[in-house]
Amino acid sequence: MTISADPAPALQDYAHPERLVTTQWLADRLAAGDTEGLVVVESDEDVLLYETGHVPGAVKIDWHLDLNDPVTRDYVDGEGFARLMDASGITRETTVVIYGDKSNWWAAYALWVFTLFGHEDVRLLDGGRAAWEAEGRELTTSTEGRPAATSGYPVVERTDAPVRAFREDVLDSLGGPLIDVRSPQEYSGERTHMPDYPQEGTVRGGHIPTARSVPWARAAAEDGRFRSRAELESIYQGELGFETGTPTIVYCRIGERSAHTWFVLTHLLGFESVRNYDGSWTEWGNGVRLPIAQGAEPGEAPAR
């Protein structure tokens, strides 16, 4: 880690406080011009939000256009990621701080993709774009301070296995710790899509049998920041009874909301093995003969 962690007391209770920075920490760094080795990345749902004004010096990375393979339903490969990093002025040693809209959904998703490529020092700005704006901090449309393109980011083969689950992995672990982070209506099967997001439809509604329902937003406070460690523990360890040492899988609709929960479990609570099933409901709910449970109860794992 090239840049020391944010020492803010508010972060120190988390399992890995070095994965978060506060708005104050970032603002102080920027004000002091102390940005050597630091690149700030904005990653939003709304692809134009960055253009309306961004944190000074921030670069934009879009999940649709930059992180997804345009043809296969998969992420970019090592060469594509290296090209993106070079264009963004990010070297393998760079400290990357990501922020975005919607309580950092897409920022967490981008961070998770960085993790697939083993980028070591990648952090979230706690509270994301909304907190930065609410505090009246500077947003600019100027490119001043934007890092110059770099070269030579290594072509790293993606390491999916530790943090990414595929359909077969989920089938193999039915009955184990599995969290569905979608809305209660999506979980029960009343809806096949998130309220207001019908275009990524599925032909069947419900949830993966035995999955517990914890909508992602329960991990976020009203201001978009993460809830305290004690509050998070009371949800995931208290209510669910999950343990940090047991491999856990999270999913949602396409893997973006569950990336937020993945971040919470992995970096804030210190779960040792959490995988995000990015195929999520848009794969499972369309998959032939995959078992589905409907209603508010988790349901039983089918006999095998």
């Binding site: 709304d46 692809v47 134009l48 939000l49 879009d62 649709h64 809209d101």
Partner: protein, 154 residues
């Protein structure tokens, strides 16, 4: 520009001009133009601003947007008017609405109804906002058409 590009020749007049403007630009500048559209989205007239229940939500968009239509006259010759409401933190959605407003507001109901549903994919936006996000604009167009044909008695 030397004449109409063949790929936009089949588009309705209002959209053809907009498509030419977008297609003449590279990726980053296309986004900038979409941002300009979003900034130019007309404010809701008071009669709607004070009565949000008169507006129809468009759930195909990832961000909240509401729309209303009015027609002057009856049938295909009636004049169509469009109104939109979307928050500033949803600039892409505002941009889509502004494109539809510029291309369709003040035209005849018949012209709007004849707009091919595929028009949203032909403006050069798919490469810069992703095809999935464009579904929002298709959703708006479909709702506009449905409202207009009902209101014009078609």
């Amino acid at each position: 520009m030397s004449g109409v590009d063949s790929s936009t020749a089949a588009l309705p007049e209002g959209f053809a001009e907009i498509a030419e403007d977008f297609l003449a630009l590279g990726g980053r500048d296309r986004l900038q133009l979409l941002l300009e559209f979003s900034q130019g989205l007309p404010e809701l007239p008071e009669r709607y601003a004070e009565h949000p229940e008169l507006l129809e939500p468009v759930p195909e968009c990832q961000s909240p947007i509401f729309l209303a239509t009015e027609v002057e006259g009856r049938g295909r010759e009636a004049t169509a008017h469009l109104f939109f409401s979307a928050p500033p933190e949803a600039p892409t959605t505002r941009g889509f609405a502004a494109i539809l407003a510029e291309a369709l507001d003040g035209r005849s109901v018949g012209e709007v109804l004849d707009t091919p549903d595929t028009v949203t994919g032909e403006l050069g936006l798919a490469e810069v906002v992703s095809p999935l996000r464009l579904n929002g604009m298709s959703g708006m167009l479909a709702r506009i058409k449905r409202q207009l044909s009902a209101k014009a008695g078609l």
